[in-house]
């Protein structure tokens, strides 16, 4: 192969597909951010401005104060953090039980966890709505925290089981000899060693909860209880959409998810990929 042929080959099997991948992936982000910082007049102007000529924060002010994204943001944050908190505690306990004890019904319990992965959330919106209605928890953040914790728990427990199984038993035995009880062992010995795994699990749980739409839509009917996805959804469905504020609201919702993702993406290939590989 001549140098020219090799270069052409490299162009068509590498540079061109790479450029298309990067542009296809990043352009929607660029366009949303671009729209969010444009004055309303420039958004509807023709021809479109690919590089904005003027810059404004007005859209963010409208979204944050006028539309109520400050409230949605707080609601989303509260629900996400509470869910992550409970998922981490319960999943660690389950993971510990599975990796350190032999007990009757362990096999059945594992099967139960696996089965949940095939129960689609979309199919439970009707009964969950009726259950939370009878508990008086519609439009109460508790209903979403409970639902999300339940749906995130099985997968994260299995993940945690894997992490804890990698921690040498000797560490705990030494602590037990020193007079620690089981719970102290878990919190003082296992947790610090597990930290990287816990952080990754927590971040992925956060992203899932932050993004969840259907349950939140079904279980919330008061505007002051909306999460970000619900707020965005309603705003999109309005007759006279304020595109600038909609884009600004999107950026507000994007930032935490992207930050979390950027922080934990190193673990993604091993974590998610490893989980799928089994």
């Amino acid at each position: 192969m001549s140098t020219f042929q090799r270069n052409m080959d490299r162009l068509f099997v590498f540079y061109l597909p790479m450029a298309i991948t990067v542009i296809f992936t990043l352009f929607p982000f660029y366009w949303t951010i671009n729209t969010a910082f444009k004055p309303e007049g420039d958004i509807v102007k023709s021809p479109l401005e690919y590089v904005p000529s003027s810059f404004t924060l007005e859209n963010f002010r409208v979204a944050w104060e006028g539309v109520g994204f400050s409230t949605y943001f707080q609601n989303s944050l509260l629900i996400a953090f509470c869910t992550v908190f409970f998922v981490l505690i319960f999943a660690t306990l389950v993971g510990y039980a599975l990796s350190r004890y032999r007990f009757k019904g362990k096999g059945a319990f594992m099967l139960l966890l696996l089965c949940t992965q095939f129960v689609p959330g979309a199919m439970l919106i009707i009964p969950l709505f009726l259950i939370f209605k009878s508990l008086g928890l519609i439009s109460n953040p508790l209903s979403l925290i409970i639902t999300y914790t339940t749906f995130q728990l099985p997968f994260n427990s299995i993940l945690m089981n894997g992490f804890i199984s990698n921690v040498p038993r000797e560490l705990e035995e030494a602590a037990m000899v020193d007079g620690c009880n089981r719970l102290q062992v878990i919190f003082k010995v296992i947790l610090p060693v597990l930290m990287p795994g816990i952080v990754a699990t927590g971040v992925f749980t956060f992203i899932h909860v932050w993004n969840e739409f259907l349950f939140a839509f079904m279980l919330t009917n008061q505007e002051e209880r909306f999460t970000l996805p619900i707020g965005l959804s309603y705003m999109m469905g309005e007759f006279n959409v304020n595109y600038g504020a909609l884009a600004a609201g999107s950026v507000i919702a994007l930032i935490p998810a992207i930050l979390m993702f950027a922080y934990a993406q190193k673990h993604l290939v091993n974590g998610l990929g490893g989980a799928v590989k089994g």
């Binding site: 099997v13 689609p120 979309a122 009707i126 009964p127 969950l128 709505f129 427990s157 965005l232 590989k277």
Partner: protein, 316 residues
């Protein structure tokens, strides 16, 4: 005196035994204590509602017509299969949706994984960038793409006009001919990274020596791909496509927000139809019956898929 000492000693031993006994008991119950929160939640808020779906499917349960509520036997199911053309239409759209999503995501995701598995400058950064849509919600994806698809201010019309592909602005999401493909592309944007991530993990576990040996033999790029790479990824592919099929079948965020199932039910998948029954019509009985049917279809599909593809866990 002596006997008193003896008695004291004996008592002490008994106390110790009792103590040991109780810690032993506690240890025995420990694992159950640890898994109890998970069991309570999973049974209470996952399996109990699941059971409810089956129960409601046998009821007339319409929140807007409560006077008809009561046991209905198999009426709902009879209605699904004999009187509801929308059910079959939605099932067809679900099929179209799942097949196009899973096959395109797999093929393109494989291409992206192969690209990202090579060594090049800024690899870590480009990998992270290429995976980012994975972390974006269906609602956000809908907002971002609806801005771009917009008939009046959309950038896609602008680009296609500049390239000379279209003459005038199109309403991509309102036009019967373009709506399905438009929604598919938006979902691909969010769905490809999942395959890219999982397949990249699979690619990284293929021993380098295998490639080196075949390069020495002078095998072509395609030969290497079909004889080494693909067989190694077989189990990953079977499992990811199955998971994705279930996921895309149930996926609703994007369609719900981008088109609401329209125009003219052109994008109403079965799951979208169920949500419509639950959210807009408040027909919980009929919605539950539809849910039971689609759950059954998924279950049959999953079992058949694993059988036919001869998935072997131990090999992976």
């Amino acid at each position: 005196m002596q006997s008193r000492l003896q008695a004291q000693e004996e008592a002490q031993i008994r106390v110790q035994e009792k103590k040991q006994g109780s810690t032993f008991q506690l240890e025995k119950w420990m694992p159950y204590l640890f898994i109890s929160p998970a069991i309570v939640l999973i049974v209470g808020f996952l399996f109990y509602p699941l059971g409810n779906v089956f129960y409601y499917s046998l009821q007339n349960y319409d929140a807007s017509q409560p006077y008809y509520n009561g046991f209905a036997g198999l009426d709902n199911f009879v209605r699904i299969f004999t009187e509801d053309p929308q059910f079959f239409a939605s099932l067809g759209i679900s099929l179209k949706w799942v097949v196009s999503q899973v096959s395109l995501q797999l093929v393109i995701g494989m291409g992206v994984a192969l690209l990202l598995n090579q060594s090049f400058r800024f690899r870590a950064f480009i990998r992270a960038a290429a995976f980012t849509p994975w972390a974006i919600s269906g609602v956000l994806t809908s907002v971002m793409w609806s801005l771009m698809y917009n008939e009046h201010i959309g950038v896609i019309n602008d680009i296609l006009k500049k390239l000379g592909i279209i003459d005038s602005n199109q309403a991509w999401l309102a036009n019967l001919d373009t709506v399905f493909a438009s929604v598919v592309i938006a979902e691909l944007w969010r769905g490809i990274p999942f395959f890219a991530i999982t397949l990249l993990a699979g690619l990284q576990s293929i021993p380098e020596e295998l490639y080196e040996a075949s390069k020495v033999d002078g095998a072509s790029r395609w030969r290497i791909f079909f004889h080494i790479t693909l067989p190694h990824l077989k189990n990953t592919i079977i499992l990811t496509t199955l998971l994705r099929t279930v996921w895309e079948f149930n996926n609703i965020d994007l369609i719900f927000n981008l088109t609401g199932g329209g125009p003219a039910h052109e994008t109403t998948t079965l799951t979208m139809y169920i949500a419509e029954q639950a959210i807009h019509s408040n027909n919980f009985g009929y919605g539950s019956a539809l849910t039971v049917v689609s759950f059954g279809l998924l279950l049959v599909f999953a079992i058949a898929y694993l059988r036919i593809s001869r998935f072997q866990k131990e090999e992976g």
